[in-house]
Subunit: 403 residues, 2 copies
């Protein structure tokens, strides 16, 4: 008789964002006259920029001709895109990455999830707390997380990110093998400097650990002291994988393109992770659509860069409005300078979900309860800067009037 | 210290198609004056049809506006596409499939590979021999295949498809839990009738086994007695997953869209595989690009259907030319009626690779050696119907002159 992967049954049933959606829907149905503003969405709202849609139209036209038609592409991505990534995202910052170290994919979520395929189930995994749920759930599915007891998985090492440590994780006391780091951070919205990242690289090199570095929000970095890539830290190529995405950089959440960097220097027992990932991708993936890769390439053109930067600036201005508006109203606010996320302490010692309910009921503003990202998120809510300017301003105005 | 998934190291190094490509390249470099014809390619060559490219242009234009912009879509696919699949691919054939049983993805290769996530590593897996390598390699990566000893994996059950059994597998004598079937078949190009499929469904139901049914080539079925879906067999919804793809149906090999059907009736120990797959996809996948899903939707329009059927007819006519041409030259040929593949017995007891070399050297025609798909493929070569009419005719002409 066929047997399922039992680890799936250990996953807690209700997912954070579906609970938020359910509560929001229930409120809206009970109060159809109220105008609800969603400051919870982690999804962009600005259209794809003209330079990119032009490139897509051109690519579609190519596909319509026998001469321009593209069938199966390389599983790793077309050279035209990989070489642009190498040149613009790395070489321009003084980082030497080879084109065959870049693997183009349909999303950082896919890569962050699928990366587990190349690792033994017998690895001790460390995650930040609060954390992007994909790192945790995919390890739980693979059997690396143990059992879920109330708030935590028994076999994961949690690294609390709290007010007292500036929301930056500390190196775990017990030995760990795989470390997920995300900077600029989701959900907290803080970034790490080179000095703050260096000890992690040193730890990984000394202990043969691998850092899985999620850099999906690097386009939001406005502080010049903040590194865009883990490879800006010396020695990181020997110990770190980097995930990047066009989702937030160019509004590709519904267009789907990302990439993962696997340096040849990164080896375990003499085996290059690059070779393992290449084999994984060649066997279980068939590349990103030609039209989409042409779209991604256009993000690097002069016009494409200028236009996508305008969208980023728009969101960062929203972030400033949220940050300053909430601070003015007396809230303790974090993040939102180098990231689209603002992490806000709940007032009067309210729980995350209590404050979520209060804001929904009294201000008709939807947020994301921090506790949903992990136990150390209790007492916080997350706001995002992805709504329109108008809605963002009104939401902050309403919250200011509430307190 | 981090540990890799050791199963990757067990995979044999050289991949069939890369060996074919290497040999071809070497020959072409040594003989730059010779015109080589590739009858080995499993990739389509005809352009995307106008109805589909029009839909893509429209979708790109939508994405360029704030109102028409689409961010994250449902991980399972948009309703507009899932409902078309249900209506045109199933309801039209008298099969009742619900929209939430359809999971849209970036490729049947991805789904065939990723499906292993929801199954225990402790399952006995049966595969046809010869076989599409993805089924084997992904199980090897997951640790279900045991060790590779010369030609076979120690823990897989091989089901030989030979001339004496009409190239149809027989139900294994030992108990198996997961069975991969592919009809119309790759690489052999034969199809199975309802009567031939029924014993498999009966076996699976009686033994609690799961059939993973790859139906990627169903669009090539020209014989009305041949079922397009495993669900045409009574009881199949309780025991079978079906993989479908737009790759060969609509020339989407470089456009990337497919889907997998997970009926609610399909349960193991009371757990719906549908729920597990849904969780898997929501955690490790973020949906297919909006533009691509609109392209796939257009395949089902009146014009889209008519135009894509013309491409299929073109390839099937190539298949006829290959089949009849080789038979006329005295070869034993199989497949190519309900599939784009033609399976040809090598003459004079030559090995697959010997005959491959001979055809390359003396006729400048590239084929795929059957032995590369599994030990029972020895003594055969595979030809595909995806080249142009002109090249196909010339290739067959050259082979006819050779013998």
């Amino acid at each position: 008789m066929a047997k399922i992967n039992d680890n799936f049954l250990k996953l807690p049933g209700s997912y954070l964002f579906s609970t938020v959606a359910k509560k929001t829907r229930a409120y809206m149905e009970a109060h159809p006259d109220k105008k609800v503003i969603k400051m919870s969405i982690g999804d962009v709202t600005r259209p794809i920029v003209p330079a990119v849609t032009e490139a897509m139209h051109k690519a579609v036209d190519e596909m319509a001709t026998a001469k321009g038609f593209h069938g199966y592409g390389p599983e790793q991505g077309y050279d035209f895109l990989r070489s642009k990534i190498v040149e613009k995202d790395y070489k321009a910052r003084g980082i030497n990455i080879a084109a065959d170290e870049v693997f183009v994919s349909d999303g950082a979520k896919s890569d962050c999830g699928n990366i587990g395929d190349i690792f033994s189930t017998d690895n001790k995994v460390a995650v930040c707390d609060p954390v992007y749920p994909v790192y945790v759930d995919t390890n739980a599915m693979a059997g690396r997380a143990g059992d879920f007891k109330g708030e935590r998985w028994t076999n994961l090492v949690y690294m609390p990110c709290l007010e007292e440590n500036g929301f930056l994780p500390e190196i775990p006391k017990e030995k760990v093998d795989i470390i997920y780091l995300c900077f600029p951070n989701n959900p907290i919205g803080v970034a790490a400097t080179k000095e703050q990242l260096k000890p992690w690289v040193d730890y990984a090199r000394e202990n043969g650990a691998v850092i899985l570095y999620d850099s999906a929000y690097e386009a939001f970095i406005s502080d010049t002291a903040v590194p865009h890539s883990i490879y800006e830290i010396e020695g990181a190529k020997e110990c770190a994988v980097e995930f990047r995405s066009f989702s937030k950089t160019a509004g590709f959440t519904g267009t789907r393109c990302a990439y993962t960097v696997m340096p040849h220097e990164l080896k375990i027992d003499g085996t290059e992770l690059n070779a393992l990932w290449n084999r994984r991708q060649c066997t279980k993936f068939n590349g990103v659509p030609y039209v989409i890769q042409k779209a991604a390439e256009a993000v690097y053109s002069e016009e494409g860069y200028k236009q996508t930067r305008e969208s980023i600036a728009y969101y960062l201005e929203n972030a400033r409005i949220i940050r300053e508006g909430l601070a003015k109203a007396g809230f303790a606010v974090y993040g939102g300078v180098n990231a689209p996320y603002i992490w806000t302490k709940t007032p009067d010692g309210l729980g995350s979900w209590e404050f979520f309910d209060k804001l929904l009921k009294n201000a008709q503003v939807v947020t994301t309860p921090g506790a949903g990202f992990g136990p150390s998120g209790e007492g916080y809510i997350r706001l995002t800067s992805f709504n329109t300017r108008e809605a963002t301003k009104e939401a902050i105005d309403r919250i200011q009037k509430l307190v």
